[in-house]
Amino acid sequence: MNIIKGILQELFSLFIDDVAFSAAVVAWVVIAGVGMKAAVPLVYAGAVFAAGLYLLLIFGTVRRAKVLVAKRGKG
């Protein structure tokens, strides 16, 4: 039973270690899927979608970095 629990936990943590970041990525994908074709010509849609992901990566990583730096300061 412990092994099954371990495998299920491992499967979950393969994709999500920061719930807020993962939720933001999924939300951007949904927005892209629903709204991008109407808002942007298809030839630019990929670039806009990718740019949104780069920004999420930067903000998400910097946010995590600030938390880690703050922990180092306290510790």
Binding site: I3, G6, I7, E10, L11, L14, F15, I16, D17, D18, F21, S22, V25, V26, V29, A32, G33, M36, K37, L42, V43, A45, G46, F49, A50, L53, Y54, L57, I58, G60, T61, V62, R64, A65, K66, L68, V69, R72, G73
Partner: protein
């Protein structure tokens, strides 16, 4: 094949460390039995789910697998960035080996013919590390229609790690794990982005060639994040 090979290399090295610790302390028969059983289970998962997923409509497959690859790839990439910036410690195979060796010694002597502690430790290590490999092989295989090249990449990595393990009999601590995870994170994030776009019907200029600027852009973005991380540390040190 390259992404599959590199990702598999990292995960199998981690599994090898644990199997080596188990084998050294509690004996090679239970260690290798557990490892072999783990590899068999992983092969069954690939054989079952790989071809099954190709029956799902391609657009849906690309979006779902693309999102999973994005989450997985960005998780690896963020961690690799934070390690490169010095904000979290690099993974140390020697330390893991010592920790596992200590655990195996403290588990007590084997009872009966099978040392179940050793078999289960080895089995669990191979399955848990191998699940990431299985996901990458199936994801790349299903969305990119490259199941055989992805499988070959994983098998080559497995063979290489097993051969090195037999030859050296110690953890492969010289493998540049963080550099590999950085590279795989960039590749999988780019593939995920591309396939989500394909699934949604976006017109990628140059079609498959659009992967190259995507890979380059993720690499640049990740390097920027490393510099920001280091700047934050320097700022904290100065204040």
């Amino acid at each position: 094949m390259v992404a599959s090979f590199l990702a598999s290399l990292v995960e199998f090295v981690e599994a090898l460390t644990i199997v080596l610790a188990v084998g050294t302390v509690r004996g090679w028969r239970p260690a290798l039995t557990g490892a072999f059983a783990g590899v068999l289970l992983l092969a069954v998962l690939v054989a079952l789910f790989g071809p099954l997923l190709t029956k799902v409509p391609l657009n849906w497959m690309q979006v779902v697998v693309g999102v999973l690859l994005l989450l997985f790839g960005m998780r690896w990439l963020r961690k690799a960035v934070l390690r490169s910036a010095g904000l979290i410690a690099l993974h140390d195979e020697e330390k893991e080996y010592e920790k596992e060796t200590k655990e195996m010694r403290s588990a007590g002597k084997a009872r009966g013919y099978w040392d179940t502690v050793a078999v289960m430790a080895s089995f669990k290590a191979v399955v848990l590390e191998g699940l990431e490999v299985v996901f990458i092989v199936i994801a790349i295989g299903a969305a990119g229609k490259m199941l055989y090249p992805a499988t070959v990449g994983a098998l080559v990595a497995l063979a290489l790690v097993v051969a090195l393990g037999f030859l050296l009999h110690r953890p492969l601590s010289n493998v540049p794990e963080n550099a590999l995870k950085f590279t795989v994170g960039v590749l999988l994030s780019a593939f995920g982005t591309f396939w989500v776009g394909e699934g949604f019907g976006f017109a990628w200029p140059g079609e498959d060639l659009a992967l190259l600027p995507l890979i380059a852009s993720y690499l640049v973005t990740a390097v920027i994040c490393v510099y920001i991380g280091r700047a934050l540390i320097a700022e904290e040190g100065a204040s």
